[in-house]
């Protein structure tokens, strides 16, 4: 089977800082220096969704050459370190777009970069992504990618199935489950609920290091990921700042009183507040 005939599902993932390691200091400055990188939790489910959709059609990790799942990511120079982790979860090959522009990227820039990457990969019939990344959870990337490529988008996907070039999905909306159908190519963003990620066994972790990886640059993308001045890579936002969340609460805490005394005090305060 020639390489050009091989179909690919591309799953986009993000290498994020682990939110568990973030510290908010007393002056509300955010300290991320201890945070380690990880594949965003929800992206693991997106990878799982892509793998299951491919495997249901007979695609094995290395056997069947008619259909493969590939992983794609956009980040700074460090992002290539994420490949082994992502590839250990099943995809056959990994693609990175690595450059300075990632440091100041907003959703628009990330989507532009990823869409350019998808165009550079041959024979992509379906793009998988999570609804949002565990750091920003902005929920805009899959939509933007679909718009840039002008492909249909199916969002909030609970379950999906692909047969040939037909994709059938069940979406979970607030008050209903919606069944939809689309002919590929398409972009799907999945909910993590029904896609518990498989944990890579040691063989998968070992194999990850041997899978082919590609770094996409100016030649393939049409722009240099390091060129922050490039119009493709300029964010549509200014004055970005982060501050730790501080709850501005009264903090009137009773300790050492009897249960009745404390309860009376709180009850009377709540009546004064008008909330009971």
């Amino acid at each position: 089977m020639s390489d050009t005939a091989m179909q690919r599902y591309v799953v986009c993932y993000k290498w994020v800082l682990d939110e568990a390691d973030i510290r908010v200091l007393d002056d509300l400055k955010v300290d991320m220096t201890r945070a380690k990188g990880k594949v965003s939790d929800f992206d693991r489910s997106a990878i799982e969704a892509a793998m299951r959709a491919a495997e249901a059609q007979g695609a094995g990790e290395s056997q069947d050459k008619a259909l493969e799942v590939h992983a794609l990511t956009f980040g700074d120079a460090e992002v290539t370190r994420s490949l082994k982790d992502a590839l250990s979860r099943g995809p056959a090959e990994g693609w990175t777009i690595a450059g300075e522009a990632a440091k100041t990227a907003d959703g628009r820039v990330s989507a532009q970069a990823l869409a350019a990457g998808i165009k550079a990969i041959p024979n992509v019939s379906c793009v998988f992504a999570a609804e949002g990344a565990s750091d920003t959870y902005a929920r805009q990337i899959p939509s933007r990618i679909a718009a840039i490529l002008d492909w249909p988008l199916i969002s909030s996907v609970l379950t999906l199935k692909i047969e040939g070039d037909e994709l059938i999905a069940t979406r979970k909306l607030e008050d209903c489950l919606q069944n939809v159908r689309v002919t590929l190519p398409a972009v799907v963003s999945v909910l993590p609920e029904d896609y518990e990620p498989r944990t890579p066994g040691l063989k998968a972790v070992m194999a990850a290091g041997r899978k082919p990886t590609h770094e996409l640059g100016s030649a393939e993308l049409g722009f240099d990921p390091n060129d922050v001045a490039s119009p493709m890579l300029s964010p549509k936002r200014l004055n970005v700042s982060q501050i730790g969340y501080a709850a501005a609460r009264k903090n009137i805490i009773h300790k050492g009183l009897s249960a009745d005394e404390a309860a009376q005090s709180v009850a009377s305060a709540l009546r004064k507040e008008g909330v009971v």
Partner: protein, 306 residues
Amino acid sequence: MDTAYVYSEKPVLAAQLVGLAKSFEVKEVLAIAFDDESSAALSNCGADGIIELSGDSAMPENNARSLASWLSDAFAVDPGLLIVGATSIGRDLSARVAGYLDCGFSGDIISAELAEDDAISTTRSEYGGAVVLAETLPLPAVITVPAGRFDAASGAASIIDKGTLEPDTRIEVTGTTPIVKEGIDLSRAKAIVGVGMGFSAREDIALAEDLAAVIDAGIGCTRGIAEERHWLSTEQYLGLSGLTVAPDLYVAVGMSGQVQHLAGVRDSKVIVAINKNEEAPIFKAADYGIVGDLYEVLPALTAALK
């Protein structure tokens, strides 16, 4: 910006978006509808006018491309803002419009203000709720707003302009199954009592129910109670990946106050916490707290509020 546009498939939310847009003191706030029925539902949303852009599609999301084209023409003359209600449909549609317009986007905002030089400044949550991101988007831009964040506007609104859209027909809806929700809709409850892992037995939730009955509250819980112990349904789980609520009163009982849970309740007007560990993070997030055994304090509070 002279004109701000709002859209939500939920009329109650659309009215809240109008309320937010009005705070920007623009010349006019226009609500977008995709058919007659939707226009009719917006007749009291307080907008200065309704734009009915009819496209024949079972999915409002399919109007994204065509809507972006329509807005592009409008924004070419007057770079403006599209405010969309943050629902599954709204998030899908809004970000696609932003993609087609290739403009800035800020989703699930906490606050929004007009900034100088035709820009909008927003804040939103990141990193599981631990961090607040502030950013300024030059217009034109798209933002989404969750339900219940802003007060609704009201007042008669009528159709001032009509147009047609060409929906994307590539996606076909083949069926719909309503989701039946049991119990009170916590997102509308004025008061909620939260059950945490400090409760030793399922039967003890009755103590929380006693309090809830007295203050007319719904029952919510932490993730562990719903997803690990299965004592309450996942619909009652309040938190980052569960429900976000903003009742007037939230009483957190027997829970430590993890960031992910607090993210779901921190917009409550008043928070009360009961926990036997005075170092528990919940007390930092509370207006009033009682350090003590919930088995003593909870019944005492119920009695005091009768």
